[in-house]
């Protein structure tokens, strides 16, 4: 709502040398409390000290962002293409574990007779002669287990 009746009043004032401005500038000039001065200057100084620390958050921000992107990408790639990744053609695998490298341990001869192969074979033969074939067969298995390399003569 500009007032058309006094167009020059504002222009005169805006030139900066009006009586009104001169009078205003002669007024007293109150100042803020000194405590405020100190507090604000210290606060401003403190913020600059924080920003001068070796770990400037502003300058590290792009680096931190790049590092997080890189790590995220690496994790995704590792999950998709890594050695632990599950392939579609994978099937359950049965793993056979061999308890013994070559042959099972041999049965150790228990009695003095069994420590003597000839005597043990003689005992087996006596069992056969007496018709105790089943016992003779069991003893022969034990003999073979104890002396697998022993060559039995036909007369034994």
């Amino acid at each position: 709502m500009p007032d058309e009746r006094a167009p020059d009043e504002l222009d005169e004032y805006l030139r900066g040398d009006s009586a009104l401005s001169r009078q205003y500038r002669r007024e007293n000039s109150p100042l803020p409390p000194h405590a405020l001065d100190r507090a604000l200057l210290e606060a401003a100084h403190a913020t600059t000290l924080r920003s001068k620390s070796p770990f400037k958050s502003q300058s590290l921000a792009p680096l931190a962002f790049a590092a997080s992107v890189f790590l995220s990408l690496a994790m995704v790639l590792a999950l998709v293409f890594g050695p632990q990744a599950k392939r579609p053609d994978d099937k359950p695998r049965v793993v056979q574990v061999r308890m013994f490298k070559s042959e099972p341990p041999r049965a150790a001869p228990a009695s003095p007779r069994e420590r003597n192969p000839t005597a043990w074979l003689g005992y087996i033969e006596s069992l056969r002669r007496s018709g105790r074939d089943h016992e003779a067969e069991l003893e022969m298995r034990r003999f073979r287990s104890a002396y697998p390399d022993y060559i039995i003569a036909h007369n034994e």
Binding site: E9, L10, Q23, E27, P30, A44, K52
Partner: protein, 199 residues
Amino acid sequence: MDVQDNDAGLMLRYRDGDAAAFAALYAHYKAPLYRYLLRHVRNACAAADLFQEVWSHLIATRARYEPRAKFATFLFHIAHNCAIDFFRRDANLRRAMSVNESDGLLLEPEVPEHQRPDRVAEFAEQESALLAAVAALPQEQREAFLLREETGLSVEEIARVTDVPVETAKSRLRYAVRKLKHSLRPMQEHDPLPLRTYA
């Protein structure tokens, strides 16, 4: 940005960690900013609080500073917003008190903080006839006049600070100037000397 605005350069230096640049800015603007706030809100305690609020805001947001306008425009725009918040809080307080009073609970008189008799008396002790006339202006006209006097901002810059069209700012300033002249004229006719002089 006005390339001649050295204050914007100081603010850029402060943004980049130069505390001495802030000290220079503070020394330059503390008096006009404090006067603007004091004569705008007309309450010394509120003015001190707002003064601290304005500078604290500037310190807290310094990293984001970009010189898009004259530094004075930037600083007083912060001050304008802080003052607006103050007046809004003050109005809400008065409204709340009014509600309590209607409920039969008379807590405080329904008077703005800055118009309470004790506050007015405290402020009136320090003010001349001109400052009393300034204080009597409507809020928007008072702000336009204070911005012009304390910062030397143009009408366009005052419009930017107060977030209004240029014509609105010009109208407010025109009315303020006319009212002040009218209010001072009878006194000047009797006493052409300055009302007060300070060393």
